[in-house]
Amino acid sequence: MAMIYSIGGGKGGVGKSFITGNLGVVFAKQGKKVILIDLDLGGSNLHTFLGIQNPEASLHDFLTKKIGNLSQAATPTGIPGLSIICSMNCSLEIANLFHAQKQKIIKAIQKLPYDYILLDLGAGTNFNTLDFFLTSNEGIFIFTPEPTSIETTLRFIKAVFYRRLKQILKERPFHPMLKEFSEKFGDSTISLSSILEFVAEHDQDKGQLLFAKLKEYTFRFILNEFRKHTNPKLGENIEKVCNRHFYSRFQYLGSVSYDERVHDSVFSRKIYVNKYPYTPTATEIQQIGRKMTEDHLGIDIIWQQLP
C-alpha cells in the first residue's frame, strides 16, 4: 500500500513546496517509486522547483475527464523514480473545488500505484486543504521559528483536529448530542477541549471512542528556515506541548537550516538537494527523509513477522 504524506502548515512561504520537492528527491534516491501531487490548487508552483514548465498532463485533465485514470496525469521529472502531478493549468476557479470533485481526487489518490505519495498543500485552513490533509496516513506540518508561522500552524493543527473531530462525530450516531451542543454553545467560540468534555460527560463510551480515534492519528512536523540564534530546543518543546495538550501523537522530525542557496536553486529551477547535495541543509533534509522511512520499515518488519 502506498504511504501518503500530506505536507501542510497554515502559513504561506514557509517552504511547504520546497520540502515536498526535496523530500521527494530523497525518497526517489532511496530507490522508491515516488509521486508528488500539487494540491495547492489555485496557487500551484511545485513544478517550478523541479524545473518543469509544460507538463504533458495535469490534474486539470483528470478533472475534465480527458484522462480516466489519475496515474496518467503523472509527468516524469527527469529524476529516476520521481513523478509529479501538476495543477498549474487548472481553471482559475479551481481553488473552490466542488465537494464531488474533491472526493474524486481523494479516492483516485488512494489508488495510485506508488510507494510514496507526497501531497503539497496550500496555505490557509479551507475545507479542501483540511480534507486533503486528512486523507493521508501521516500529516506533516512545516513551520518556521517565527511567531506568525507558529500561530498559523497551531491554528492549522486545531482546524485539522476540529475537522477530524467532526468527521468522527458524523460517522457515528452523535447527532442528537451535537445538536444539543451547538444550541448550548453556538458555533463561533468552541474550543476542542470543550467539545471533548461535553461528549465525555454525556456519554462515557462515546467519549472514549472519540479519544481512541483521535489517538490513532500521528502528526509530524518539520522546523524550516532554522537560524543560528533560534532556541535549539524549540522543536522538542513544541512536540512536548502538543503531545500534552492535544489528544493525538506528535513527532518532531527535525529542523532544516536556513540557507541563502535555496534561493539560487529556485532561481535556477533545479531542485536544491541535487544542486547542493553536500550542504548542511541538504543533509538535514536527507536525515528527515531517512527518519520518516525508517519509522516505516519498523512497521513493515512487524507486519511481516505476523503470521
Partner: protein, 219 residues
C-alpha cells in the same frame, strides 16, 4: 492519554517521583520557559485564561515539591490514592550544602558534661584528682592522668571547648616553647579544668607555678 488537568505535580514538571531539589528547580525553569507568555513554543496556543490556569498549576507544583514538608504530605496523598507505587518514592540521600563555617553544636556540650559527671559518680575518681589537687605543682602529665582516668579523649575536649588539639598537647606535655602566652593559657586551663569538673583556680595556680619553676631551672 491523560489530560493536563489530570497530571500530578511530578507529571506537570516531568520529573520522577524521587527527583532531587535540583531537578525540581531545573524542571520548573524549563516549564516556565515553555508556558510563559513570551514563549515561542506556545505562542497563540492558549487563551490568556488557559495560560493563566496552566501557569498557576506549574507554580503550585513547584511550590509544593520544593517544600519538604508540603512534598511529604503531597506524596502521602498520592500514595494513599494509589497513584504512584511506593518504591518510586524512595529518595536517595541528597547532597546538602556544605556550611562555610563549621558550626558549634551546643547540644553536644551537655551530653559531654553529663557523661563526665556520670563517670565521676560511678568510679569515684576523686581519689586521683584529690591527690593531684593537693600538690603544689601540677604538671601537664597530672592533667593528662586525670583526663585519661575519666576516659575523655583530647578530641572530646577540642569538640566542646574548641581549644586546638596541638595546644592541648602542649599543655599536657609541658612543652613550654609551644605554649600560648600566659593570658591565653590561663583561660585554656580554666576551660579544661571546668570540663573535667575540677577546681579551676587551683589547677591554674598549680600549673603556672610548675611551668614557671621549670623555666627558671632551665635558665
Amino acid at each position: 492519554m491523560k489530560r493536563f488537568e489530570e497530571f500530578n505535580f511530578y507529571e506537570i514538571l516531568e520529573i520522577p517521583c524521587n527527583a532531587s531539589t535540583f531537578q525540581i528547580r531545573e524542571a520548573y525553569r524549563e516549564a516556565l520557559s515553555i508556558y510563559s507568555e513570551d514563549s515561542l513554543a506556545t505562542y497563540s496556543l492558549f487563551t490568556a485564561e488557559e495560560r493563566h490556569k496552566i501557569l498557576s498549576r506549574v507554580e503550585k507544583a513547584f511550590n509544593t515539591l520544593i517544600d519538604k514538608k508540603a512534598r511529604d504530605e503531597y506524596d502521602k496523598g498520592l500514595l494513599s490514592s494509589g497513584l504512584i507505587p511506593e518504591d518510586q518514592l524512595e529518595r536517595k540521600d541528597q547532597k546538602k550544602p556544605i556550611p562555610l563555617f563549621p558550626r558549634h553544636d551546643h547540644t553536644n556540650d551537655k551530653a559531654f558534661l553529663s557523661k563526665i559527671r556520670k563517670r565521676i559518680e560511678e568510679e569515684g575518681e576523686r581519689d586521683l584528682s584529690g591527690q593531684i589537687m593537693a600538690k603544689e605543682f601540677i604538671s601537664g602529665n597530672d592533667l593528662k592522668r586525670i583526663r585519661e582516668s575519666l576516659e575523655v579523649s583530647l578530641f572530646d575536649i577540642y569538640e566542646v571547648s574548641r581549644v586546638s588539639i596541638s595546644t592541648l598537647e602542649a599543655i599536657e606535655g609541658d612543652q613550654t616553647e609551644n605554649l600560648p602566652p600566659d593570658i591565653y593559657l590561663v583561660n585554656f586551663l580554666k576551660i579544661y579544668a571546668e570540663l573535667l569538673q575540677l577546681d579551676s583556680k587551683r589547677i591554674v595556680d598549680g600549673y603556672l607555678k610548675n611551668i614557671h619553676s621549670k623555666n627558671e631551672t632551665q635558665r
